[in-house]
Amino acid sequence: MVKLRAGWLEGRLTSASRAMTTATPLGRANLASCVQACAVHSGKLSRNPDQKRIRLDEAIAELISTYTRVLADPEKATVIASAKTTWHKELPEILEALLQVGSKAVDVGAPEEMRLALTITDTVLSVRDSSRAAWRLRAQVLEATGQDAEAIEAHERYAALVKDDGLGTAARIVGLKQSHERLIESIRLLQEESPAAQSFAGIPGIELWAEGGDLADHGQWEQAEPRLVAALAAMVEEGWSSTEIRSALADFIDLLLEENTGQLAASTRLFELYADHVRLKVREPVLDPLLGGTEPIGVSDFRNLVAGKTICLVANSQGAGNSTMGSEIDSYDLVVRFNSYQINPSATGKRTDIHATIHKHGFNWAEKVETRLVFGGNNGLWQQSMRRRLVPGAQRYVNDRTLRWPVRDLGMMGEDVWPSIPTTGFNMLYLLDFLDVNPKIDLIGFDFYDSGAYRLPAAMKLPITPVHGYSKEKEWVLARAQAVTDIRISLR
C-alpha cells in the first residue's frame, strides 16, 4: 500500500541549476539540441487526445517551422551556424517560440514535459540571464517538482528584474519559504516524538520506508512508526524533493489516522504543520491580513454609506478628460472613478471617493480613496487579486464577495439576458441604479468610447476590447436617462 516514487531522483535539478550558475557558455549545440529535444518530444505526442498536449504539440510545430525558416535564410542561418551566443537578440522569433513551448509544457505538468520546460529555460538563460519569462517559467517548473530552494532562487531572480509586483512574487517567495519550513518542522516534530527513530540513522530512506510500511501492513505499528519517522528524516537528509517528502508524509499521516483513531488530538500540531505546508505551497499568505485597517463591506454596507448623497461617475473618456467640468465634478457628495482613471483637475476634478476597478489590472490601487470596489467575473481569480493587489491602508473600505459582480449577482442578469461581459462602469452604474438611494446619479463624459480613452499613460495601450457590449450598455443607460447633455447623462 505504500508506494515509493523514486523516478524523479534521476531528474534532480540541482545539478542543472549549478551548471547555470557556473556560467558555462551554452552555445550553438544547446539551442540546436534543445530544438531537437522538442522535435523528439513532438513525436511522442502524436494522436494524443489530451487538449493540453495538443496545444504543446502545436507550439512545437510552430517552433520547428520558425527554426527551419531561419535556417532557410542565409543571413540568419549564420547566427545559428556560427554558434553565436547572441542568437536571442538576432533571432527573437526563436526565443519567443521556445518560451511558448515551455509554457505549454508546464501546462501539461507531467514529468517529461517538466523536464522539457527545464531544458528550455536552461537554453535561454545560458545566453540571456535577464529573461524574465524564462526565470518565471523556471520557477513554475521547480515549484511543481518540489525543488523548493531552486524555485525560490528563480522567483527572486525574476522579482529582481521586474518593477511592479503584479503577480505577487514577493508573497509567493514568502509562501514557498514558509511551506518548506513547515515541512522540515513537521519531520523534526515527529523525530522528537519518536526518539526510537534515532537508532536507524544512516540507513537509506527508501529501505526504512519499505521496511516500516511492511511492518505497518502486518499490524506492527509500534515497530513501524520509528522506522517510518527515520525514513522521512533520511529523505530530508538525502535531499529529496519536497513533493516526494510530502507524499510520504501524507502516507504516514494516513497510517496515523488508521492506528490512532480516538487519540487524534495528540497529532494536532503535526496535522497543522502538514496542512500549512500543503496550503502555503499553492497559496501565498497575505502579508498584511488586516489590510492596513481596511474594512471589508457588503452590498448593504455600501448602500448605507452612499444613501442620500449626490453622486457622479466620471468616465475615462477624452470627452471628460478635455472638458471643463472639474469644479462641478468635485461639487458632488461622492465622485466615482474607474480603473486606470487619470486626473486633470480642471477637466476631471480632483477628488476620488470611490474607485471602481476590474480585479485584473492594478492601476490606481495605491491611490488613497474612501471606498475601493473591485469587480470580477470569476470568483477564484477575483479572490486572488484581492489577496495580491490590495494596497494596505489605501482605502477605508473594500467590497467583499457580495459586491464582486453586481450585474450578474445582484441583478441576476445571466448570459441569456446580458450576453456580453459587463464593463466596470456598467457594473457600477447598474449597482447605483439598483440600490436607488441617491437623489442624483450623473454620468460625466460617458460617450461609450466615441471620443477615445483618457487613461493613465501605462494603460493607454490596453485595447478597448470587443468582449463588452458597449452599444447595449448605452441603450440601457439612455433608456433610463432623465436628462442628457453633451457631457452629462442624469439617471435621477
Partner: protein, 765 residues
C-alpha cells in the same frame, strides 16, 4: 410525546401542506416503484408526503415502497364504498379498482394533493405543479378535445377536498350518468363539465401519441403508459423508445441510490438521508458518506453525521471530508478531535479561511481568546475579506469589556450577546431582560456570560461568585445555530457543571422551538432541560405554546415550576426609564422579513409570497410611505428581490447598525409594523405600535394567541396574502388611535404577569 394534535407547527404558520397520492395494488407495483425512482431522480429537490392508497398490498411490497420514499403515508381505501356505483363492462380489470383513487377527495390532511397513476414515469421538473394554488388542474384528453380531462394526473386544491365534492362524486357514481367505461375519469368529467384548469400536455403525455416508435419529446415531464400493455409486462411493439424511457428508471435499490447520490445539483436532505443511510450501511463510498453526513448536519443530526464519517478512515488528502467531520465533532462538543480534523482540512487553500474561522470558534467557545484570535488572523491570511474570520477576529481582539462591579453584588447573565451588525432583536434582548431586575443594566451590576461559551471550571467559579444567575431571554431552547453536545440547547453547559452552580438560577422569558426527530439530540436536551428546571428558582417561558411543550417533556413534579413570562421586549414602554409615547408618528409602515431557514419558512411558496407582498406594498404605499426594517443584513434579500422582480424600491432602516435606543425609537415612531421576525413583532408591540405578523414560524402564532389577537397574523402561505394584508393594514391605519389603545391594553396584561413574576423573583434575587 403525546402533545395535543392541534398544535402542529404547520397549522400555526399556515404552511401549505402538499402531498402526492397514488392508488397502488400488487399488479401495478412494479410501475409504482419505477414512478417513485423517477420522481426522486428527476426532482431530487422535492420531498413531500406521498399518500399510498391501497386495499391489498403485501408486507414485502410495503417495504419496497418505503425504501424508495421517506415520507410514505399508507391509507387503506374504503373499497365497499364504490360497490353501489353503476359500472361498465365487468371484464375490464379496472372496473372495480379504477374508482379507488376517488378516495383521495376524502383526505383532509393536505391543502394540495397531486395524484399520479402508477403507470406513469416522471421525466422532468414538477415544481410548477407544486406552485399551483387554485382549482383542479389536469391535462385535457388528447383524443377527446379540451373539455374532458385525463385523470392520470390531478392537481387538487383544498376546495375540492371537501365533503360537498365527495357527495357529488357519490351521487354521479350511483346514478350512472357518466361514461361508464371511463370509470373515475368518467365521473369527474361528468361532474366538472370542462371546468378545470388545463395543464400543458407535457405533464400527462399519453403513450399513444408515440405510436410508430416516435421518440419521447424532450419537454415531457410525465409519460403515461395508458392501455393494457405495461412496460413491466413486456410492453408493446412500436413503443420501444417510450419504453426505454421507463426502463431507465427500472433499477435495483443499490443502482438507484448510487445514481441518486452521483447526481449534481441540490438534493432534498430527507431524500439524501433516506437513500444514503442504507447505502452507507452496505459499505458506500466516502463521497456518498459526505453527502449523507452533510444532509444529517442540515437536519440537526450531528451525532449521526459523526457516526457516518467515522466508519472508515478518511485519507489526509480528503480535506472536504475532514472539514465536515470537524464541523460535526464540533457540534457534539468533541472539540479536541474537531480541531485535529479541521486543521488537517486547512490544507485546502480554497476552504481554509472557513476552516480556520471554525478552529477560532472552538477556541473561543473554550474561553481561549488569544488562540481564537490567532486562528481568525490565519483565516484572514488566506482570505482577507472572509466574513466569519473577520467577525471572530473582532470578537476576540477587543477583549471583554470587563466587569466594573463587585462580584458579590452582581448577577451573572447568560445570554446571546451580539457581535457588531448582529440581529437587532438579539441586541435589544439582554438589556430588556436586565431592565426587569432594576434600572442599572450595565457592567457594574451585571456579569455577562455568552450562551455559546463552554462552562468550564473558571466560568463556573465566576458564576458562583455572583449573587445569582439569570438565563435568557430569546429562543434558547433550540438545537442548532451553534450546536453543542453538552446540553443540546444553546447554553453550552455540561450537566456536572450545571449541578455545581450554587447560586439561585432564574430562567427568564426563554422560548422553546420544536425539535423534530433526532433521537439523540432530543434525549440529551430533555435530560439537560429536566436538570435545569429542577435547579431553577424561577423558570419562565415567553409564551404559552412553549410552556405547554416544555411541561410535556417534564416529570409531573416539575411541571408546575414552568411559568409564563412574556418576552420583556413586549413591555418596553413599562420598563424603559422615562419612556414617553410619541406625540406624533411618522406617516410610515415598516416591513420586515427573515431569511434564516428560508426553505422551512417558505416551502414552495416564495415566488407567491414575493408577488403578494408587492401587491400589498403598492396598495399600502398609496396611503402611507412603506419602508423596510432590516434586523439583520440578510433580511435585505427581500428589498433586493422586490427591486429586481417588481421594480419597487424600499427605503431601508438598517437596524443592525442601530443602538437599542434607536431601534425602539424607530419602532415607536412608525404607525404600523408588518414583521416576520419574532422580535419585529414583539419590539414594536412593546413600544406601543400596532403590528401585523407575517407568520412563518410557530412562535409568532404563540405570541398573538397570548395577547388574544390571532387576527394580527397572516400566514406567508395565504393564497390571498396581498389582499388580506392590504385590507388589514389599511384597516389599522384607518382606525389607528383605537388600535394603539388596544395594544396598550393588551400590554397591560403582559405587564401584570411580569410584575407578578418580579414579586416572586424579588424573594430570591
Amino acid at each position: 410525546m403525546t402533545s395535543p394534535r392541534h398544535a402542529t407547527p404547520s397549522n400555526l404558520t399556515g404552511k401549505r401542506r402538499i402531498a402526492f397520492a397514488s392508488y397502488v395494488d400488487e399488479n401495478y407495483l412494479p410501475g409504482f416503484l419505477t414512478l417513485l425512482r423517477s420522481l426522486a431522480l428527476t426532482n431530487p429537490g422535492i420531498c413531500e408526503d406521498f399518500v399510498v392508497l391501497y386495499d391489498d398490498l403485501l408486507p414485502a411490497s410495503v417495504t419496497a415502497i418505503r425504501r424508495l420514499h421517506p415520507r410514505i403515508k399508507l391509507r387503506q381505501v374504503n373499497a365497499s364504498h364504490y360497490d353501489e356505483f353503476v359500472k361498465g363492462n365487468p371484464d375490464n380489470y379496472l372496473v372495480r379498482k379504477a374508482y379507488f383513487i376517488l378516495d383521495v377527495f376524502r383526505i383532509r390532511d393536505y391543502d394540495t394533493i397531486i395524484t399520479l397513476d402508477t403507470d406513469m414515469v416522471v421525466l422532468g421538473d414538477l415544481s410548477e405543479l407544486l406552485q399551483m394554488r387554485r382549482g383542479l388542474g389536469a391535462v385535457p384528453q388528447f383524443f377527446q378535445g379540451q373539455d374532458k380531462l385525463n385523470s392520470g394526473l390531478l392537481v387538487i386544491q383544498k376546495e375540492y377536498l371537501s365533503d360537498e365534492f365527495c357527495a357529488q362524486i357519490d351521487a354521479t357514481g350511483r346514478s350512472g350518468e357518466y361514461e361508464l367505461d371511463k370509470h373515475d375519469q368518467g365521473i369527474l368529467n361528468a361532474l366538472l363539465q370542462g371546468s378545470f384548469i388545463s395543464l400543458d400536455s407535457r405533464y400527462n403525455y399519453v403513450k399513444r401519441r408515440l405510436a410508430g416508435d416516435l421518440p419521447v419529446p424532450d419537454d415531457v415531464a410525465i409519460l403515461h403508459f395508458t392501455g393494457r400493455h405495461k412496460p413491466w409486462n413486456g410492453g408493446e411493439l412500436g413503443y420501444s423508445q417510450a419504453e426505454a424511457a421507463w426502463r431507465a428508471y427500472d433499477l435495483s435499490d443499490a443502482d438507484f441510490a448510487t445514481k441518486f447520490l452521483a447526481q449534481s445539483g441540490p438534493k432534498h436532505p430527507e431524500l439524501l438521508m433516506h437513500f444514503g443511510r442504507r447505502m452507507i450501511k452496505h459499505g458506500g463510498e466516502l463521497r456518498a458518506a459526505q453527502q449523507v453526513a452533510s444532509a444529517y448536519m442540515d437536519k440537526g443530526g450531528y451525532h449521526e453525521a459523526v457516526d457516518i464519517l467515522s466508519r472508515s478512515v478518511i485519507p489526509a488528502k480528503e480535506t472536504g471530508a475532514h472539514a465536515l467531520l470537524g464541523s460535526a465533532l464540533m457540534s457534539v462538543s468533541r472539540y479536541d478531535e474537531a480541531e485535529a480534523h479541521l486543521l488537517l482540512a486547512s490544507a485546502d487553500a480554497a476552504n481554509s479561511a472557513k476552516v480556520f474561522s471554525q478552529v477560532s470558534q472552538i477556541a473561543w467557545i473554550r474561553n481561549d481568546d488569544a488562540k481564537a484570535n490567532r486562528y481568525a488572523l490565519q483565516g484572514l491570511t488566506t482570505n482577507p475579506t472572509d466574513r466569519m474570520s473577520r467577525i471572530m477576529y473582532k470578537r476576540t481582539v477587543e477583549g471583554g469589556a470587563g466587569d466594573t462591579g463587585i462580584p458579590s453584588e452582581q448577577l451573572a447573565h447568560v445570554a446571546f450577546y451580539m457581535d457588531g451588525q448582529g440581529n437587532a432583536g438579539d441586541k435589544v434582548l439582554p438589556e430588556s431582560v436586565r431592565m426587569c431586575f432594576g434600572p442599572d443594566t450595565g457592567p457594574r451590576r451585571w456579569h455577562s456570560v455568552h450562551v455559546h461559551r463552554l462552562v468550564d471550571e473558571k466560568a463556573l467559579e465566576q458564576i458562583n461568585s455572583r449573587r445569582g444567575l439569570v438565563i435568557g431571554g430569546g429562543g434558547l431552547f433550540i438545537p442548532d445555530t451553534s450546536p453543542n453536545g453538552n446540553s443540546a440547547w444553546q447554553w453550552n453547559v455540561p450537566d456536572d457543571m450545571l449541578k455545581r452552580i450554587n447560586v439561585p438560577i432564574a430562567v427568564f422569558a426563554v422560548g422553546y422551538n420544536a425539535f423534530d426527530g433526532q433521537s439523540y439530540t432530543r434525549s440529551r436536551f430533555t435530560e439537560s432541560l429536566r436538570l435545569l428546571v429542577s435547579r431553577s428558582a424561577f423558570f419562565g417561558l415567553r409564551n404559552h405554546g412553549s410552556v405547554e411543550k416544555v411541561r410535556a417533556l417534564l416529570p409531573a413534579e416539575l411541571r408546575d415550576k414552568v411559568l409564563f413570562q412574556p418576552c420583556p421586549t413586549t413591555v418596553a414602554r413599562q420598563l424603559t426609564p422615562g419612556w414617553q409615547d410619541p406625540v406624533r408618528r411618522d406617516e410610515t409602515v415598516l416591513i420586515n422579513c427573515a431569511y434564516d431557514r428560508a426553505g422551512l419558512r417558505f416551502g414552495h411558496d416564495y415566488g407567491h409570497f414575493l408577488k403578494e407582498m408587492a401587491t400589498a406594498i403598492r396598495a399600502i404605499g398609496k396611503h402611507t410611505d412603506v419602508r423596510y426594517a432590516a434586523h439583520a443584513v440578510t433580511d435585505e434579500k427581500f428589498v433586493f428581490d422586490l427591486r429586481r422582480e417588481y421594480g419597487i424600491s424600499l427605503q431601508v432602516e438598517p437596524m443592525y447598525d442601530y443602538s437599542n435606543e434607536q431601534i425602539r425609537a424607530s419602532y415607536a415612531r412608525t404607525k404600523l409594523v408588518i414583521g416576520m421576525r419574532g422580535h419585529a413583532g414583539m419590539i414594536p408591540f412593546g413600544c406601543g405600535t400596532p403590528i401585523i405578523s407575517l407568520i412563518s414560524h410557530p412562535k409568532m402564532a404563540y405570541f398573538l394567541s397570548d395577547i388574544g389577537r390571532p387576527e394580527w397574523g397572516v400566514s406567508v402561505h395565504d393564497v390571498n396574502l396581498g389582499a388580506v394584508l392590504s385590507e388589514r393594514a389599511l384597516g389599522i391605519l384607518g382606525n389607528h388611535a383605537a388600535t394603539v389603545a388596544d395594544v396598550h391594553q393588551r400590554q397591560q396584561d403582559l405587564w401584570a404577569v411580569t410584575r407578578q413574576n418580579a414579586a416572586i423573583l424579588s424573594g430570591t434575587f
